[in-house]
């Protein structure tokens, strides 16, 4: 039984970790700007493409990774400055539409540069190697991902709770105008949020594409969407919520893919029923259920309407 479930669990934890790193970007931006940054999944994809081209230019791989993360953070910063900041006083819907615009711009830019051909992500030594754990053979990155995710989230929570920038972030997310009156430079706080979010998406992209090595312009769409669902699931605005949500979705999705064989081995069904088809349907059905039962998500704050 354990031998049957374990490989799926392992894939699930790994995918969950990657979703988590993207979901944090969604949740942080939402927490501060009340904006769903639709371009976030594409920032993740661009990080992958930048890495492909950097590695092709012949730079040493460790330098590529560092530069890639820096470049991704800069891209996130630039997007905020160019597409969102000028709309700070506009209705929230306008920023949302601007975000959709950025998403399509990035996708089409990459389509233009790559010519629509799928790019193979460079092999990063050690984490690309295969290892066997119990009944499953997988890449080292599968095991590294959840550990690295937990470490990064821990660092992030520390930053939010115990530093001046973190305090400013919390203040801005509680009340935008008042924090401005208290002398907080909200532009720099917002920029910091985008830089952190994009940086984590960059780390996520390195881990994700090491596992799933093909990058095309739409590569960010599905992971982005799933991470968004994870963020909503965990309670959008809450960092630990996004992480827990991401792990639940990653694991559930992979267990569904293997549900047939698990039920089969348990003797509950006599022949495969093709349940794997429902892996994505499940993710989105879960979103609907959560929104219906607990609109603020697992860890979401109760919203208090100020009169």
């Amino acid at each position: 039984m354990w031998n049957t479930v374990f490989p799926y669990l392992l894939s699930g934890i790994s995918v969950g970790g990657q979703y988590a790193l993207i979901a944090i970007g969604y949740t942080m931006v939402y927490g501060i700007l009340r904006l769903i940054n639709f371009a976030h999944g594409d920032v993740f994809m661009v990080a992958g493409i930048v890495m492909v081209y950097m590695a092709a230019s012949g730079l040493p791989l460790w330098l590529c990774i560092v530069l890639d993360l820096v470049a991704t953070a800069i891209i996130g910063f630039a997007i905020e400055r160019i597409a969102y900041k000028p709309l700070r006083t506009a209705p929230r819907m306008s920023i949302m539409i601007s975000a959709i615009g950025v998403s399509y711009t990035l996708q089409n830019l990459v389509l233009y540069i790559t010519g629509g051909l799928n790019q193979i992500y460079p092999k990063i030594p050690w984490i690309s190697d295969s290892i066997t754990i119990g009944s499953a053979t997988t890449k080292v990155v599968t095991v590294v991902t959840p550990i690295l995710t937990i470490l990064l989230v821990f660092a992030l929570v520390m930053l939010i709770n115990h530093t001046k920038v973190g305090m400013a972030m919390r203040a801005v997310s509680k009340d935008f105008e008042t924090s401005q009156l208290m002398g907080i430079n909200i532009n720099s706080v917002i920029s910091t949020t985008f830089v952190i979010g994009s940086f984590l998406a960059g780390v996520g992209s390195t881990l994700y594409f090491t596992n799933y090595t093909t990058v095309i312009q739409t590569s960010g769409a599905m992971p982005g969407l799933k991470a968004f669902v994870a963020a909503v699931f965990g309670g959008i605005g809450s960092v630990p919520g996004a992480v827990v949500g991401a792990f639940i979705i990653g694991i559930a999705e992979n267990l569904i893919k293997g549900l047939d064989i698990i039920l089969f081995k348990m003797g509950l069904i006599s022949k495969p029923m093709g349940l794997a088809i429902f892996s994505d349907a499940f993710t989105f059905a879960l979103l609907i259920i959560i929104l219906a039962v607990k609109p603020t998500g697992l860890f979401g704050e109760k919203s208090i309407d100020k009169v």
Binding site: S11, G115, T137, T138, I216, G258
Partner: protein, 386 residues
């Protein structure tokens, strides 16, 4: 002085008009309905390369006693059935006489009605699903069909590989994938084997759980007739999961992109396809020289000059279209459509003739396998079905 300029400008304008008018008289437009982006972008580009090479080799055609210059009009159907209609309309409105393509049966079916409405014939190069040509009189194709290909693959898996349990994986909502998977299942079960069929949603990049499924069912062969973008993922993930079963695929996997993904791993990738490099050295050498003459062509071919079977099919489709234009004696699309059923020619991929449905009469498929050390395709056998 001013007057002189004005006069000069008028003369220039008139001469320009005149020259375009002369050109327009002698141009026949052929539509290229292919994916240049999306999941099948890599394959679509290789098929287009075949057409471009054929156009480079034979840029003119004799129609009704006059020499016409062939102009290829491109429309990117984006590998997706929701983008295909607008690409098809784009071709219809630019006034093409005949359409070539598409790579991928789903997009061909999605665009089909627009060509039918405009009375424009279409010639598929590598779309193997029966529904492309079934029930209409304007869609033709020069390749074999999926029932045939599925049977060949099932026979190969059962008899040559000795597999009794097969795991088949196809993309949801993709007519090509689902069709071929169904025909494979029918043929394999008729032989006495068992098939476990799964489908994955579009946009999936995590295939580890599907590979685990196959391992858990102790499948002896993994059949995945999927788009190139997915197949490279599957091959690489199969390698890191240390699978022991061979991966079997259809004509879509015949690409150096897939061979490159399998290079340096120990995954056995075996496929059926339309053409084997080396079968026609004249064509091979000419095509390679042409590819190497331009960096863009090389990039579109996946970075090296290995010949993909779809390029050959694209090449033959172009010549089939020229034959049809010659037979019609006019650039009128309705006449070309009427002339197409009678067209026969000997292409690089073999002799081409159409049956009453509009399908090419083909009786054999090539089986190829990746050489894991060099990343080349090795010829295994030419398989026929009795």
């Amino acid at each position: 002085m001013k007057k002189l300029f004005a006069l000069l400008a008028v003369v220039l304008c008139i001469s320009m008009l005149a020259s375009t008018a002369v050109l327009a008289d002698n141009v026949v437009k052929i539509g290229v309905f292919e994916p240049a982006s999306g999941d099948s972008g890599a394959g679509g580009k290789q098929e287009m390369l075949g057409m471009q090479y054929a156009n480079y080799e034979t840029p003119t055609v004799e129609i009704g006693g006059e020499t016409y210059t062939v102009e290829l009009v491109y429309a990117d159907n984006g590998s997706s059935t929701d983008k295909a209609p607008s690409a098809a309309q784009q071709l219809v409105s630019s006034g093409v006489s005949v359409v070539l393509g598409s790579y991928g049966s789903g997009v061909s079916i999605a665009g089909s009605q627009y060509f039918a409405d405009a009375n424009i014939p279409a010639i598929g190069a590598s779309c193997t699903n029966p529904q492309v040509t079934a029930g209409n009189d304007h869609y033709f194709r020069i390749c074999f069909l999926d029932p045939f290909q599925g049977t060949v693959l099932a026979n190969y898996a059962y008899k040559e590989l000795g597999a009794r349990t097969a795991y088949s994986l196809a993309e949801l909502g993709n007519d090509y994938d689902q069709g071929l998977a169904t025909y494979f299942k029918q043929a394999f079960e008729a032989l006495g084997g068992t098939v476990i069929a799964d489908s994955f949603p579009t946009g999936t990049s995590d295939f580890t759980s599907y590979l685990t499924n196959a391992q858990m069912y102790s499948a002896e062969v993994f059949f995945c007739p999927v788009s190139i973008a997915y197949s490279t993922q599957i091959v690489q993930q199969a390698s890191s999961q240390g699978v022991t079963f061979p991966i079997l695929g259809g004509d879509t996997l015949d690409s150096n992109v897939v061979a490159n993904a399998a290079k340096g791993t120990d995954v056995n990738v075996t496929i059926t396809t339309f053409y084997q490099e080396g079968a026609n050295p004249d064509f091979d050498n000419g095509f390679k020289a042409w590819l190497n003459s331009n960096n863009e062509y090389l990039t579109n071919n996946g970075g090296n000059d290995m010949i993909a079977a779809v390029s050959v099919m694209g090449y033959d489709t172009y010549y089939t279209a020229l034959e049809a234009l010659k037979a019609a004696g006019t650039t009128d699309s309705a006449a070309v459509k009427a002339a197409l059923p009678g067209v026969t020619l000997t292409g690089v991929s073999g002799s081409i003739a159409f049956d009453e449905i509009g399908d090419a009469i083909r009786t054999s498929a090539f089986v190829k396998k990746v050489d894991n050390a060099s990343g080349d395709w090795n010829f295994v056998t030419e398989q026929t079905v009795d």
